[in-house]
């Protein structure tokens, strides 16, 4: 590590056992977590300074609660990226979930449980298709999920003829509108609950350890007896379900199903995961970082809105932050793995 300008040779990439992170890896992880949360803190301060009364916890909770769907979708994206893949069908799945749930609810509170169950199952089914294409047909994740996303888009555009469809039940909007104890948005509670569930699976089960191993080095994982295909398929199923839940949250917030409201989420989930220190190579990062990544993006958008700059500037700002974070996380992860060309 003494010659930083020279590429470290790729000797023995198998030597770093992914299941038990080396000290260097653990250090890299903490440092990149520090960077993500540092950035989030910086943005909270900026957010507070841009307006009078900006530090009011109620205002900050409201801002975060309004964008909880991003946080929910990012959980799935992060799991897929940890498996060494990428899910570009998240936006279309969210739109699909929005339409499916609204159609099944049809304006009646009694249909909500059925709508939620069917929508989550639909998201999981899309995940199975993605997973099979990636794990069994060996199609590059980027292309497989891009193609599936495009097909989904075609399906719901043909189904709805491009018009809003279905009718959101009044009781469903409680997720977006209600406040627990008068201040805590329900959406944040749902988000944190989903996060805890997936975090438990990822960190406290053998399946989760296997997923990390598969993402870090699929060949080594396969040779040591891990059913890598199942890990990969499972990751996409989690992503599909998270996206379905996120899509329903978006519907609850906006009060109507839409064919394109979630289009931008595909890329913002990738951005949030990357800002949160999840590496593209797979097996590096966790779920804590993306949480900060979401906060960074949400606060950034709000700050720009408050400043009254054109909304197009948000795209530019997000792009710049993404590039900066990639350069930072690359520096932090250097040496954490033998392979240099991801």
């Amino acid at each position: 590590m003494s010659a930083p300008t020279v590429t470290p040779p790729a000797e023995n990439p198998e030597a770093t056992t992914p299941a038990a992170p080396t000290r260097l890896q653990a250090l890299g992880r903490h440092r990149s977590l520090g960077v993500s949360y540092g950035l989030a803190l910086l943005f909270v301060i900026a957010l507070g300074l841009t307006t009078k009364n900006g530090f009011s916890p109620e205002r900050i909770l409201n801002i975060v609660g309004q964008d909880a769907q991003l946080g929910m979708a990012v959980i799935g994206q992060a799991v897929v990226m940890l498996s060494g893949g990428l899910d570009l069908s998240i936006g279309p799945v969210m739109n699909l979930a929005s339409i499916v749930s609204a159609v099944i609810m049809d304006g009646s509170n009694g249909n909500i449980p059925l709508a939620v169950a069917v929508t989550i199952a639909a998201g999981g089914a899309v995940g199975v298709v993605n997973g099979l294409l990636v794990a069994k047909l060996r199609i590059a994740p980027l292309l497989a999920t891009l193609a599936v996303g495009t097909i989904l888009q075609g399906i719901y555009y043909v189904w709805t003829e491009g018009q809003p469809k279905g009718n959101v039940a009044p009781g469903f909007r409680a997720i977006a509108d209600d406040r627990i104890l008068g201040f805590l948005p329900v959406s944040i509670v749902v988000w944190v609950a989903l996060w805890s569930l997936v975090a438990f699976v990822l960190y406290r089960t053998t399946w989760g350890k296997g997923l990390y191993a598969t993402g870090a080095n699929p060949r080594a994982a396969w040779l040591s007896g891990i059913a890598t295909s199942r890990k990969v398929i499972g990751a996409y199923v989690i992503a599909g379900m998270c996206a379905a839940i996120a899509g329903m949250q978006l519907t609850a917030y906006s009060g109507a199903a839409s064919v394109n409201a979630a289009d931008s989420y595909t890329l913002t989930t990738v951005a949030a995961a990357v800002i949160g220190g999840v590496a593209f190579a797979g097996g590096i990062g966790g779920l804590a970082g993306p949480f900060a990544g979401v906060l960074v993006l949400v606060f950034l958008d709000t700050i720009l809105e408050t400043l009254g700059v054109p909304s197009a500037t948000q795209y530019i700002a997000q792009g710049l932050i993404l590039i900066i974070m990639m350069l930072v996380s690359r520096r932090l992860n250097r040496g954490a793995r033998g392979r240099d060309d991801a």
Binding site: L133, L143, I151, I323
Partner: protein
């Protein structure tokens, strides 16, 4: 033939044979089955529609040959249409074209520098995609603008039913193919795509090659946007979005491996033709236009699954149509 082109060039052309066969068959069937397809107007609109995608896909192909990917091409196309349709300079359009070229090269170079610095191509071009999209929206927040008359005249010039822009785009693809297969730059490009570390250890100038590859992609995408204006007659900050997926699909249909280093840019021609043909036939059949999303996605999946199923090689009559791919048991890592 054999005296003109190098052995590697000819070997790399072999993976493009299946897509040529499929596309020619499709054209013949369309010609035989559909009466409206045979009209000169339809041929003209088909070819005019192909021109921008040929240019964008040529750039995308160069980048994919390095083992990378360029998701920013769609935004660059949009930006180019917006620049072309905004009132600048003396109204002759010279300044517009110059700015389009400069913008393409600058964005592409930025991508290349980022990738050479070690940023994953996907994230790097995703980030520039956002930045360029924001820029295009700042210049023009809704479709409109006016294109200089003299420029528009040039962009819509046509020999009979063959548009000038189509011929130029075709010429550009051929030049790009020769550049990537017959020059020293091209050899380095394939080497980088085949093994980045290997190329670096062989003291090849990998960083310079990467930067030039992405710069070319940016340039070709912006020219694609310029040519697109000849069809839509205005600027639109979001019109190019579909080009990212379409160009990737065309390149992969053309037999260029997504892992890099294999295939030939000439395969882009049948790839683009096949995509344009499917859209064209669906339009002529009066099918709801949203079905095109479904067909495009299916074509991409089927093509990739077939190329993958062919695995190491695909032989017809003892001729190897696909070069060996080596064993890639990885269930994952994106390009």
């Amino acid at each position: 033939m054999s005296a003109v082109l190098g052995a590697t060039t000819r070997a790399n052309l072999k993976p493009t044979i299946p897509i040529w066969i499929v596309t020619i068959l499709a054209v013949v069937v369309a010609f035989a089955v559909s009466t409206p397809f045979r009209t000169g107007t339809n041929a003209s609109s088909l070819l005019l529609g192909m021109a921008p995608l040929l240019l964008v896909a040529a750039g995308q192909g160069i980048v994919i040959l390095t083992g990378g990917i360029d998701l920013s091409v769609g935004s660059v196309v949009s930006l180019a249409t917006v620049i072309t349709a905004s009132s600048l300079g003396d109204g002759s359009g010279t300044l517009n074209v110059a700015l389009v070229v400069v913008a393409g090269v600058v964005i592409g170079t930025a991508n290349g520098v980022g990738v050479a610095a070690g940023i994953n191509p996907l994230v790097m071009t995703l980030a520039t995609m956002g930045i360029v999209k924001g820029g295009a929206l700042l210049i023009m927040d809704s479709p409109g603008g006016t294109v200089p008359a003299s420029l528009l005249e040039g962009l819509t010039w046509s020999f009979g039913s063959v548009p000038l822009t189509f011929l130029i785009s075709l010429g550009v693809v051929v030049v790009a193919w020769l550049l990537t297969s017959e020059t020293r730059f091209g050899h380095t490009l394939y080497a980088v795509g085949h093994s980045g570390i290997g190329a670096r250890r062989a003291a090849l100038r990998t960083n310079r090659t990467l930067i030039v590859a992405y710069a070319l992609s940016g340039l070709l995408a912006s020219l694609g946007g310029l040519v697109l204006v000849g069809r839509v007659f205005s600027g639109d900050p979001l019109i190019g979005d579909a080009f990212s997926l379409d160009s990737i699909t065309a390149v992969l249909l053309g037999g260029i491996a997504v892992v890099g280093g294999r295939g030939a840019l000439l395969g882009i021609i049948p790839g683009v033709l096949l995509l344009a043909l499917v859209d064209n036939l669906l339009n002529l059949a009066g099918v709801f236009s949203y079905y095109q999303y479904i067909t495009k996605g299916m074509i991409l999946i089927v093509a990739l699954a077939l190329y993958n199923a062919a695995g190491g090689e695909l032989k017809i009559g003892g001729v190897r149509l696909l070069p060996g791919r080596g064993s890639k048991p990885d269930a994952g890592a994106p390009a």
